[in-house]
Symmetry: none
């Protein structure tokens, strides 16, 4: 069962944390339910308190569970907060929530960069880039429209990859593509004709737009993307306490 969450080579505390995340995401542990106590978890996994506490600390940092000294931990949220990865990978985010992600790659093309793209990717206008147009689905319903542009050396890898099969970013990562820093810009736009058709909303309906520019550690841009979400299905949320670091999430709205 736990094999889908990762191989057995994971450290014990990560396996415990992954199992708890799964149980929370699946609804087996609902919001407000008490999380098994440290001693119970220790008995279940035949582990000492150290890895159990490490797992719980991890979930606590993600905001999934609450509790404190003397207060048994309770489930606070069922979303997983993995800011960067989650933001990149639509599929794993949806899957983590227990929904069925889908995607249809409508176009993949190599063409010269226009002014906007060239500016975002710090290229000269006319430099060849690879553009991808993908419709993203959740439980079969159109949720997001993704217009992604890669610089040519990276984009060329996509022609050898079935974009509708696995995770694109996992594939690029395996190929040695480094995308460690990203800048996201979020605003609202009215749906144009193409948006309207592919997202099944009215022309001019408000859409939540996320524009993203991802770069390698050296600061050279690798990808630029214009993602448009149906605001009735997805929103973004940020949680920040004074001490803790804010976490950016993508929220799913069951409707």
């Amino acid at each position: 069962m736990t094999c889908i969450l990762g191989g057995m080579e994971m450290p014990l505390h990560e396996r415990i944390a992954a199992d708890l995340r799964r149980r929370i995401a699946s609804g087996e542990l609902a919001v407000g339910d008490p999380v098994p106590s440290e001693s119970q978890l220790g008995a279940q996994w035949n582990a000492s308190r150290a890895p159990v506490r490490q797992a719980l600390t991890s979930l606590r940092a993600e905001g999934m569970i609450g509790g404190g000294r003397g207060k048994p931990a309770v489930v606070r949220r069922h979303t997983l907060s993995q800011p960067f990865e989650t933001f990149l990978s639509f599929s794993s985010w949806a899957a983590g929530l227990g929904h069925v992600p889908g995607q249809r790659t409508l176009e993949i093309a190599r063409r010269p960069a226009d002014a906007d793209i060239a500016d975002a990717l710090q290229l000269d206008e006319g430099t060849p880039v690879v553009q991808l147009l993908r419709q993203r689905l959740i439980d079969g319903r159109p949720t997001m429209l993704e217009r992604t542009t890669f610089v040519e050396p990276v984009g060329r890898l996509l022609f050898d990859f079935d974009c509708d099969s696995g995770s694109l970013y996992a594939y690029l990562g395996e190929q040695g593509v480094d995308m460690t820093v990203a800048r996201h810009q979020i605003d609202a736009v009215a749906a144009d004709a193409q948006d309207s058709e592919l997202l099944e909303v009215e022309l001019g309906a408000p859409l939540l737009r996320e524009r993203r520019c991802a770069s390698g550690m050296d600061g050279r841009p690798v990808e630029y993307s214009d993602d448009r979400y149906r605001p009735d299905m997805v929103s973004f949320s940020i949680e920040n306490s004074q001490q803790a670091h804010p976490a950016l999430l993508r929220d799913w709205r069951a409707s």
Copy 2:
């Protein structure tokens, strides 16, 4: 020396972390410098590895130090970003950009909470709350519409305050109101009649909405706000590197 960092009653791992933060902030440990190893810190503090590691884990989560398995920790940053203040105070944000902020408080009222508000503030429906409707301007142009609701004990303070004079949050802070944690939810909505009139956009135009629920350290909600921005004037941006925590900013779009 360490007394300014807190009383002696702090747990050991917090004292170690606080001391390291001080040494890093003061420049005694500059960016790039190696942090004392776990064994060195253990000897310095006459402590076992557990509290030392807990302290280092804490600093690592804050992005102040790097390192990893086998790699001795090094100082990465000497400050921690605090995007919270920026997000709360519209005025200081605009002023920091060199623009002229303005505001017109259109309504301040004490009324019973409706279902949505009651849910957000964890009150019973009908509990009295204080609501504020404010139009925010930049360089004289309508930019944002703010519908804020405070729980009554906090909201009552506003009747003794000229909302159009100074910073509201600074005033509340002086009055001892604690708002250390906040949850922001961002999506897009179509402008309704009131939005349309006060933001000077067409009916149905896309607006960028930020809903915010701020709480005290004890987790009790203090304020709930529904802020709607003209997307042609403001957007949000988030910057994240792989390890470091993302920072949320509000962006101004000169037009």
